[in-house]
Amino acid sequence: MDKELIVIPCSGIGKPYGEISRQAVYELLEDIRPEQVETVCLGRLMIRDPEVLEKLQNGFVITVDGCAKDCALKNVEATGKKVDKAVRTLEVFKEHRDLKPEGVLNLGEAGYTLAHYLAEKLSGEVECLAKEE
């Protein structure tokens, strides 16, 4: 894959779903697809950091949002970049309603398992984009 693939979680701070988005992206980056995927601070988009804007323009972008506010998606789009795939944490949660995260940041076993399922879903999306290229 020649184009860089950037996966950006929303990292919401109010409920566990933001942390699940973040942990799923770290698992994808470090354990499942190291050297194929990277992330950038969402905050750097908000300050229009030129280095990040250029990276986005030239790469594939997947956003991962903790709720229907779709902050990661909307913040990428606000830079003028169309995202290649937008994923919501709740899509995975709906399939595993028995798994209840413990705290907002300390997710507990159930929360980390949800993050793992989300990471696998993201890995599938990465594969689809790689085939498209």
Partner: protein, 147 residues
């Protein structure tokens, strides 16, 4: 919607807003999250509120007015100061702006490389930053009380 923000809908003036940058790329970004949650959940529970920073672009008017409704402390992982700059541009001027890397340099503490899992030193840093935020919360509450 799981209700990702914690904005109190009553407009009580004596709560302080805390807005971490949540930077994903470096450990200092994770420290902002944990330190802010420690203040919200333990150190100054009931006296502080938070909001997801990217809601200043993605959210509704009420959410975007956060920093004009609450005296606000921004907490940034590094000197790019994404939270301080975005909060000021999109919501209102923060009352205080804390930068984790600057503060830790003064204390001689070096963070780990991992934003994913906090080391013991990173956890120590969380405590230091949380205490600093709590101190600023008290100052702002004191000022509000004096008014």
């Amino acid at each position: 919607m799981p209700g990702a923000t914690e904005i109190s809908r009553d407009l009580k003036p004596f709560k302080i807003g805390i807005v971490p940058c949540n930077g994903e790329e470096i450990c200092a970004g994770s420290v902002t999250r944990f330190a802010c949650r420690k203040v919200l959940d333990e150190l100054r529970k009931g006296k502080t509120v938070t909001i997801c920073l990217p809601l200043f672009i993605a959210g509704d008017k009420g959410e975007q007015q956060f920093a004009s409704r609450f005296p606000t402390i921004t907490v940034d992982g590094c000197d790019k100061r994404c939270s301080a700059i975005s909060t000021e541009r999109l919501s209102g001027k923060p009352s205080y702006s804390i930068v984790v890397t600057d503060l830790l340099k003064d204390k001689g503490l070096t963070l780990s490389e991992s934003p994913r899992v906090l080391s013991e030193t990173d956890k120590q840093a969380v405590d230091i930053i949380a205490e600093e935020i709590a101190k600023k919360v008290d100052e702002l509450l004191g000022e509000a009380g004096d008014a």
